[in-house]
């Protein structure tokens, strides 16, 4: 077997190892993300409160817009 063939085989094996490791990491990340998603769903009541108080958000938008307009016109 030539040196080049050896090098080629070595690299292929290395890539395969890295790909397996990457797959494992992706799977771990996916699991953590899913745990976070389940935790967020457990707190669904908190988000329902936000829906109920949505009109308060329009007041916040108005305040922010007034500030941005003042900034825009330098007053």
């Amino acid at each position: 077997m030539s040196t080049l063939d050896n090098r080629k085989e070595e690299l292929s094996n290395r890539i395969q190892e890295l790909e397996t490791a990457l797959g494992g990491l992706k799977s771990q990340l996916h699991e953590i993300e899913e745990i976070e998603q389940h935790e967020a769903i457990d707190n669904l009541e908190r988000y329902l409160d936000q829906v109920d108080h949505k009109f308060r958000n329009l007041g916040d938008l108005w305040t922010l817009l007034v500030d941005e307009m003042k900034g825009l016109f330098g007053r």
């Binding site: 993300e33 899913e34 976070e36 998603q37 389940h38 935790e39 967020a40 769903i41 457990d42 669904l44 009541e45 908190r46 988000y47 329902l48 936000q50 829906v51 108080h53 949505k54 009109f55 308060r56 958000n57 329009l58 916040d60 938008l61 922010l64 817009l65 941005e68 307009m69």
Partner: protein
Amino acid sequence: MQWLSIVALVYMLLVAVSVIGGGFKLAAGEQARSLFEFASNPIAGLVIGTVATALIQSSSTVTSIIVGLVAGGLPVTIAIPMVMGANIGTTITNTIVSLGHLKEGEEFRRAFAAATIHDFFNVVSVLIFLPLEVAFGVLDRIGGFLANLMLGGDSMSMKGLNFVKPLVKPSVEIFEQTLGGFGSTAGGVSMIAIGIVLIFVSITVIGKLLKILMVGRAKQILHAAIGHGPVTGIGTGTAITVLVQSSSTTTSLIVPLVGTGVFSLRQIYPFTLGANIGTCITGLLAATAITGANAVLALQIALIHLLYNVIGVVVIYGTPILRELPVMAAEKLAEATIRNRLYAAAYIVSVFFLIPSVIVLGSRLFGI
């Protein structure tokens, strides 16, 4: 006790839809078409549906009113753009909810995109299906065929199975006898006004009660959907919307979930589409209460609403290029809004109020 209240409120909703139909019939008589002549332009109908829903903040209320009006003689062809507009108008609620993240830069970008993806999907849907409907009347025909199949009186008819109508009829007759005494116009208009108020109150209170009662079940469904594909996402969005009887509640719930970065925009996209389908249940329920010759037409418009949303999801989400359009538009707008918050205000005012007003004024001025 809360379940009993819900049953009573559903009954009130069904009576109210029939009362609107009866009132419209009484006030307009054979003139129903000419009364809605201003909305015979499909763009005007679309705008009416959009603005009415954005103001009332409930597509279920608007579609139930439309079902009642169709039962009273409003032509289905005029009602179709209105239900399409209701789909657009209802998206204002989750956009307002996303403003709760306004002070958090990246969080607001994600939340705003999660809210507006629903808007853009519904706009794309109207851009595709409204011209097709005007040209070929496909939804009108399929809805008519299905409604006739279900109520048309042949062997496959479900007419005999409908137990809602006999339950609703006595209450509707009380309204007709009481208010009909004021004359056809005054009595009819009073019935329409009372019907609208009753629908609004019943749907709002039902929504509030169901939110409390169904939150546990909604959690179970959401937990079960995690890690599954888009079809499960669509099914989950549909199921939760049916449970809480409000698409805006469903689509608003996912806004903070995306805002905090726990879910991605693409993960919740199918879920918002399910909300479009689930919200049709109220219109279908409303249609079961209609009696008389126009019952088929009331069912037809409710079925058209369902067909429009199902076909919209299949065509737009099923076509890769079309599927990406709402995602790209929502992301671009959210990025622009991060640079300047004025875009958020400009977007809400223009999409839900300014552009519709300009379109209506333009069409009136130029007689289109």
